[in-house]
């Protein structure tokens, strides 16, 4: 997790979760409201990588996880 998100989870940067899909893994986190909007859509500037590969290349949030993958949340490069 980026440090701003970790700060919102009492300093925790890494989480271990059991989940069938990438989306389910993210929704299991205590940061769900920051990653997803009230329509349960991933916020547009949140990027997700699975074992170093953009989640979009794997079929998006519905893509299945087999177990043991590392899911990484990265904020888009933007802002000021």
């Amino acid at each position: 997790m980026p440090s701003l998100l970790a700060e919102q989870a009492r300093g925790q940067k890494e989480f271990e979760v059991e989940a069938p899909t990438i989306g389910a893994a993210l929704r299991a986190l205590p940061l769900r409201d920051l990653l997803f909007d009230e329509r349960d859509e991933l916020r547009p500037l949140v990027n997700v990588y699975v074992d170093g590969e953009d989640a979009r290349e794997r079929g998006g949030l519905e893509a299945e996880l087999r177990g043991g993958e590392t899911v990484r949340v990265v904020a888009a490069i933007a802002g000021g």
Binding site: L4, L5, E7, Q8, R32, D33, L34, L35, D37, E38, R39, R43, L45, V46, A75, A76, A78, G79
Partner: protein, 354 residues
């Protein structure tokens, strides 16, 4: 507990601790780093901050230990049937009997009965029959002003840009437009519409709550009848009717202070100086009240960036987009710089800090 200035910035919340004279101020390290703090306020020992992040969205952060630890409001959002999604959290206003109010964009008002843990959207605003005639201003369609009659908590006002002023007489259930006499010069075919005015800041006078003041996109206004009718207060010394914040005397309803800007197309302080203008006759005349403020400045003071305390003499506090905080401990008659080189300032509020 001591007096503090809560300075919301584009890079977190700064707390300025003052001495009893309100002349010396110490900047404390920023809280909520990484968050745009649109407004922060203390109430009953809890700090509430309307906090936004360009990646992670809008929330209300609250701290019961003066910034050491924070909890955020999870699940803040607009219902699916509204067709709207939350854009920004703008302003937290403590109400009566523990109720908290949150103004948000797009044109939303929320209430909380559990000290800010959860928020319910106010349907009377969300489904207002005039909503299709509301439009966003440059800062989005923001509910920035929430005012509660101190003698009758059933009477409330909101200011939404650019929807106008609305009054409720049933504690926030239903809302009536209160814009008669306020201009929307940017709508040449109908410059005095029922709604659509671009109110920039709205205040109820604490000692005479039937008197309202507003700084609008199109002039400074006063109402003496709870917003039924508005009088435009221009000329008589004000270099411009355009500006954002307004501050009041906590006891004398005839005193107000504004910070005029050149105009909508050139949003810098008038006449190349940081000029505060003060009226002591209910807006009939205004005079420059800027002793100690920079005389060569093209500053901008946003709508949430001027505040006042209730001491005697009352203090006035303002923050600029260029990161300076100025304090007048004597009702605007003289000013001292309390901080400089902060990030762009989004809000200034006075509170008690432990």
């Amino acid at each position: 507990m001591s007096l503090a200035i809560l300075v919301g910035t584009r890079k977190g919340l700064f707390v300025l601790r003052g001495d009893d004279e309100r002349r010396e101020w110490k900047v404390e390290e920023p809280l909520l780093p990484g968050w745009d703090v649109f407004h922060a306020v203390t109430h009953d020992g809890v700090v509430y901050a309307a906090a936004n992040n360009f990646v992670y969205g809008a929330t209300v952060q609250r701290s019961a230990d003066f910034g050491r630890t924070w909890e955020r409001s999870e699940g803040l959002g607009l219902p699916e049937e509204s067709g709207l999604t939350l854009e920004k959290a703008w302003h937290v206003e403590p109400g009566h009997d523990g109720t908290l109010w949150l103004g948000a964009a797009p044109g939303a008002l929320f209430r909380s009965e559990d000290s800010g843990e959860s928020w319910e959207p106010v349907q009377g605003i969300l489904e207002h029959p005039t909503r299709d005639r509301w439009n966003p201003g440059a800062g989005g369609m923001c509910t920035h002003s929430i005012q509660i009659d101190p003698r009758d908590p059933q009477t409330m006002y909101v200011g939404i840009s650019a929807a106008g002023v609305f009054r409720s007489e049933d504690g926030g259930e239903s809302w009536t437009p209160a814009n008669k006499g306020t201009a929307a010069d940017f709508m040449p075919d109908n410059p005095f519409p029922e709604v659509g005015q671009c109110v920039h800041k709205l205040l109820v006078h604490p000692a005479r709550p039937e008197r309202l003041w507003q700084q609008n996109h199109c002039g400074v206004y006063r109402s003496d009848d709870r917003g039924e009718n508005w009088e435009r207060l221009e000329g008589n010394g004000l270099p411009s009717g355009f500006g954002f914040p307004i501050a009041l005397h906590p006891r004398d309803p005839d005193v107000a202070l504004v910070v005029p800007e050149e105009g909508a197309e050139n949003r810098v302080t008038s006449d190349g100086r940081l000029g505060v203008y003060k009226t002591s006759d209910a807006g009939q005349s205004w005079r420059l009240s800027s002793k100690g403020l920079p005389e060569q400045a093209w500053a901008a003071v946003l709508r949430e960036c001027m505040s006042f305390d209730d001491l005697d003499p009352f203090g006035v506090y303002l923050g600029t987009q260029s990161g300076s905080v100025f304090v007048s401990p004597n009702e605007g008659e003289g000013w001292n710089e309390a901080a400089s080189q902060l990030p762009p300032i989004l809000s200034v509020e006075v509170g008690e800090w432990a």
